[in-house]
Symmetry: D2
Subunit: 496 residues, 4 copies
């Protein structure tokens, strides 16, 4: 078949999966008012892949001549990465800055296990690489949505997986080996849109030691497998929400759920790592390498939205000429374009991965990009809220606006500059509230790695030998181990 329609995708989710949301078991996720926010969001990938306007960008023909998602192909060149950026930007523009996740996150996990499985096979004589390729083909041929399960619940963060006190399941682990597979238990958290996917790909979230061998496990499994329970994140909206009041939160419920594995059987052909603990960290590291393109791409699209909302609120309030407002709009523009430029540069100056004919974004640049995005976000929200005004906190509900008894009063008194529809001003106010929610804040800081993770990467990647050589030459300190860039420079001041 290859490409699914949005409807086929939606129907595929009614498969008996065990999902809870807001205190209740959901018998059919395709009928649930809140879970459908997620389903519809994820469905946008299918809508656009079937749309001739976007098909050339979003899909490729596979070896069999079947049309498959471009995102599921390995990225082999700088041009592939730049095209992938266009894919992510299209996705993000279509859905207000958050790429619908049918393949968005998990493709990077697939790349990671592709690279690492070859290394494991080489050392241990395993056949994981073939398993990965078989899984990739299965995803492509069936156009499946799949989620990435990386972050374990972790318990006490100062203890390793096997040292945990209360129980041993704070990290997903192998509890039994069988001839035809393994049995796993544990839980992963923050698993974006997993309840709206067909499959989930599981991998370790950091390096393991020998004693944590059972936790060095990677595999894929259908979301409706026996023993899997999904508990949804608390929704941001209640049933009966209106898109006027909740333009983002009513459209994009990422549902970063908890997924629990209670003695789940994984067949051998879906296993990509099984106890080879020295490779656990590599999977996590490679996932990060590939996944950096995501954050570095969609964030700039999100910032278009923020900066645009700031400009519109300034205009609607009649304050766009004020010096402090212009200052803030300048800052927002700089922030937006800097993130775009850094993100694009990370792709343009990508790194060739030797084990597997892959490229991934330049880690130094990509980390800087993500750090700058996350570190400046709260300043951006401050500026946006400052320009929008106290009305962001105090506007009545759109239900009041639609209530005939109060409509005229709101129409009259919430008007801004002449020529601007009151409704437009109120809609923009609601957008600002959604854009600056605690949920957005936290996502900014923690998704795709925390600020501290980026700082650590930057320090590790720093070229201190070059920096030091520059300083030693200027200070006229003699040294044997200077850097090539400085080794042969002529004397300064010159001798002539």
């Amino acid at each position: 078949m290859a490409l699914k329609t949005a409807r086929q995708y939606l129907e595929s989710l009614n498969d008996g999966r065990v999902v809870y949301c807001d205190g209740e078991r959901v018998p059919d996720v395709t009928k649930h008012p809140i879970l459908n926010i997620t389903n519809n969001w994820v469905a946008m990938d299918y809508v656009m892949s079937n749309d001739p306007k976007y098909q050339a960008l979003l899909t490729d023909l596979d070896a069999d001549g079947e049309r498959v998602a471009f995102a599921l192909q390995p990225q082999k060149t700088r041009e592939d990465l730049l095209r992938l950026r266009e894919v992510v930007k299209l996705w993000a523009r279509a859905t207000f800055g958050k790429p619908p996740g049918a393949k968005f996150v998990a493709k990077d996990g697939l790349n990671a296990v592709t690279v690492v499985s070859r290394r494991v096979d080489k050392k241990h004589g395993t056949t994981y690489a073939a398993n990965v390729e078989s899984f990739r083909k299965y995803l492509q041929k069936n156009d499946l949505a799949f989620a990435m399960g990386l972050t374990d619940v972790k318990g006490d963060r100062s203890l390793s997986p096997s040292q945990q006190v209360q129980h041993k399941d704070f990290y997903v682990r192998i509890v039994e080996e069988r001839p035809d597979g393994i049995v796993v238990s544990g839980a992963k958290t923050h698993i974006s849109q997993v309840a709206a996917c067909n499959e989930v790909l599981i991998a370790p979230c950091h390096a393991m030691k020998a004693e944590d061998k059972d936790y060095a496990v990677a595999f894929a499994i259908p979301v409706n497998a026996q023993g899997i329970t999904i508990i949804s994140a608390e929704p941001e909206v209640s049933p009966g929400y209106d898109l006027f009041d909740h333009p983002i939160t009513g459209s994009v419920y990422i549902n970063d759920a908890l997924i629990v594995f209670d003695n789940v059987f994984i067949p051998s052909e879906r296993i990509f790592l099984k106890g080879e603990w020295e490779f656990a960290g590599q999977v996590a590291y490679m996932f990060a390498n590939f996944h950096r393109l995501s954050a570095e791409t969609y964030k700039a699209v999100e910032l278009e939205l923020v900066t645009g909302a700031a400009m519109l609120m300034a205009e609607y309030n009649g304050i766009e000429k004020k010096a402090h407002v212009r200052e803030k709009l300048t800052w927002l523009t700089m922030y937006t374009e800097m993130i775009e430029t850094l993100g694009r540069a990370a792709a343009e100056h990508c790194i060739q991965e030797t084990d597997g004919d892959f490229v991934y974004p330049n880690p130094m640049i990509a980390n800087i990009c993500k750090y700058q995005f996350a570190d400046n976000w709260h300043t951006a929200t401050k500026y946006l809220q400052d320009i929008a005004g106290g009305i962001v906190a105090t506007a009545p509900s759109s239900k009041d606006y639609h209530n005939p008894e109060t409509h005229a009063l709101m129409e009259k008194y919430f008007a801004g500059k002449a020529g601007i529809a009151t409704e437009d001003r109120l809609r923009m106010v609601k957008l600002v509230r959604d854009l600056t929610s605690a949920y957005e804040d936290v996502l900014t800081i923690h998704a795709e790695g925390s600020l501290e993770a980026q700082k650590l990467s930057i320090l590790v990647l720093a070229d201190f030998e070059r920096y030091k050589a520059a300083a030693m030459r200027a200070a006229r300190i003699k040294t044997d181990k200077t850097h090539a860039l400085f080794a042969e420079l002529p004397a300064f001041p010159p001798q002539f």
Copy 2:
């Protein structure tokens, strides 16, 4: 009677007032699940005033020997201001950083009209001062809750009240004069807890010119007066909310409502300004002078909460020893204590108001305090969210925690450090989400004047003559108009 009980207060609100909330007319605000959040919050003032433990602090005996709210007395000394700080801190500590507003905001408006009415009477021979005193006595004797209506809806901010294009009611104005009073129309916005008050005090929000004479109006009126409509701010919670998930938003709904005046009659004895346009700005200015004590006091209490939540999340997650976490906790502590110190200093170095035997906080220090609070808030939320973790965005609902089908899974997998109850960790996570909401952000920036308003005040109050004298002396620039502090200093380098 003087002091009311909480129950008497609550019952007093069922008086036929016209209030809308979330799209519906509310027949009796004391029966409404959401409006009762506000009512109960405001009621805390009554609960504590009747509690012997707090009565000495919160109340005084009036000239008749009746017990009345201390907050309604004019503050005449530095000690009064320091006591008022203790009052505000008690209120704020009791209700999570937000002082319940029975008298909290409007007392400052009362002070403002007290001062300005005497000036108007002096110039124009009016009798507004007597009106103010009569209103004060009425409030005291009946222990009424009253709200302050200052901010007009404003329309196009680049135009004055009388220049507005769409209609003339963007600012509250006199539409008719009668022998026994005036008739007013217009609307005020962001009117905190007005639907939970008995009276509302209205005053101009900025200076007026001669052509805006009709907008120079101040008065008090019962909230249930004919022609008044209140449209509530969109609530943060839905009916059926749980305090586990919504510890702040389920307890404190300030309900900064829109209040509309449609030809409302104001009797003469409740009028405090009527067309004396040259005094309009003074009322607004004096309100700000008095009201600065509020922000400079309760903000530090709010920051206790934020810093405490950060420390607890660090401990619950087992990361309190990490260098970057310690750095953030240090910053939060400094922020908290700096705001407390600056706020207290503003009261300690208060200014004597000559027209009326009043004192108010030092405006330079108070503006710095508010600015520092608001300018640093988003950094504080960034740090708090960083320490708390992605779980702030992704935790399931407390309904899932209470659901027997999922309780054990959540209990097991959301555990943090051994010895910490999972429930406590989840409750703290929810508190962090509430503390860092867009509502809190916007309140921080816009309540008690925007960042730009503080900057303007600071510039106006700057003692540039002193600063310039210091620089000119150091640069050895001769000048006739040096500052007294520098005028007689000995030559340096010295001659001896």
Copy 3:
């Protein structure tokens, strides 16, 4: 001849020019201990251009087969710009972050008059373009050093050139027209290394109006022309300085001098603009467009030095493992690499200038790059000084270190970590002082345009239509004038 040797260049400066330095007329700039710091710095361009190791990068063969400076050729392609970056980086690395200015600044002025002269000729039938080409050829064939005179002294900045009160020469202007040329008077300030150049290229620093016609003048003239006086910037070092104590200030004295024109005759063939006031702003604007590559390139080289000094001081002091030091090193690395990445991206995404087959760096990215560099500089110096320690302020002179009476004491007591030579530590300390001087600070802020200039450019270049379209779509505001990127996106949530 084409390429000059360093010695030939130096000798060419003894040409009777009128130069003052530190209160005295300098009879021969090639014999002056302080001015020779500049001369030697500029000479590095000649040293390296004659060095086979760098000749391929720094020079090209011209149409006659003669070797000429690549920097004097117009940049026609993205590859040219990237090569020019390598040239600037080599220059900057050789001389501690400051490219020696034989052609560094003025080449951008040459490009600017090249572009604009064609436009003027087209409109006015002048022959300025030929004058420019003739001047370019003259520079190339004689391998001349030339300076750029852009910034006028300006007097009262709130007044235009012709409105100035005290006199009319605050901007360079035409005071007389003659058949064979013009006579000019006025002064330009901050003219880097002009006393070490053969020629100076003069152009207006901003747009002019019709009444400022006499100020719309661009030309080139030898530095020793009759009527020119140069007053040097106060030197940072005194005669007898030691490179140990003054590693940067003793090597790079940019000497941003004042150049005064007192009725200087300019022959017709060296005139590039003469009263065509509507083009004055274009020259300044085009200069900025071309010159942005400079700042965006050498700044990253300067930051290598700063970051390297920070790392070495940390190691010498034995504190490189401390958490706060690692945090600061991370920040410095990020700053360094971000500036490099943004600078490179500006070249990679360059703009094609239609009038003249030129390319110049992307203005949005280049402005962001310069702004980020300048805005963060003072934080970088704070971190560097923090890591280096109080010794930066308190170290004795190298003369004390070389004094046999005190050498042993300093050797013993200024030792840091075992294995580090005391002399190296002291040298690095002195480098830090030089790197964080007020001179460096001011250069960072004001060279290549102030922070405010960058902010203004960014605001002007902002793509608000795109940003607004993103926000309007999310807020579901209907609009006719959406942006192409958003115009045809499918409905979201989807209909299927």
Copy 4:
């Protein structure tokens, strides 16, 4: 005698002391052009103490009815601290923000040994307290200038004093005990104005362990004692400097010298600690407690200068109405007044020291004050330099201004707004350069403890139990160990 005149003070310095400056042994410090900058600066204390205008503030009558320096009396009350602030502010205003150091730093060391000597005596039966009092009386009766030697040179900072590798003298230590005293060796660094003082007080810079017993030593000794060598910090100016060009650096050379002890004999009656290692840290800690008043006081005076220079440069350049300039002036004002307010609050809310009837500034507030000062300084210099313009880097020397050949040109072309003398503008430009030097930067960061030291203190002093109690009550977490402020608050939402 008690009070000395300035001349008597100066003459007292010609006592055979061994001082080096800029590579040479100085035979008589009172005749040295550079060292006299320091001498004259310190002399200002004597000038003002003898001036009837200041005598009431600066001096007290002692028990014998002799007039002695107030600064040498122990501060016993809040009022004493507030008076001491006035003393420090007068000193600082007189000498451009840097209090002349006759007693400024060392008085805090004297207070520290006063407190700790009593504790040591109590435990060990020593008689150090009597030694301290005898030394105090000696200082008072002879009106001596004395310096504080706290910071050791330290060598490898990751090693304790006794662990050092290269030699054992990186910290001052006892090398021999004699019946009548001790012999010490080692060196202290950053010893402000020691070459311009009569005595030096030495104390340990941090806590010691048993094995570092020999380093637990405190004493006082005349600066000309046998075996003492002082090596001056590299001067900022050369002989022949002009106060026009160097308004601060030519007036205030703090000369934070290295002082070396080479087997110096200390008589028993001047010893305040001798091997009682468990008290070493207490001396350092107590010094910090007392010394915090200094920084928290003079910094605000320094900021007057900075803010005044910014305002004057804005006016001289004609840009004081520009929005970005007003924004920066506002920030500078806020910074200035915030430091003043925090500093004053630290004194107003002082702490009573039980061992010795002393008070010292509130450590939490004082640390916040110093941190805020130091952390914001580089931003202040950025703003000042931004307003002042590139001329700060490029102005010619005042020698050029005074040179008749160039005077008229400079007068004409460096004019700013009409009505401002060119000379005044140039003088202010030079002041800005001096105010933003690397020396000032480093002093700001490192004097009175580094930024990291303040952060550590703040964290240690944080009242986390209060903060946590606030958060737990809001999150409805039950706990036994709540804070008194929260323990008895009524239930919220209320029950009634």
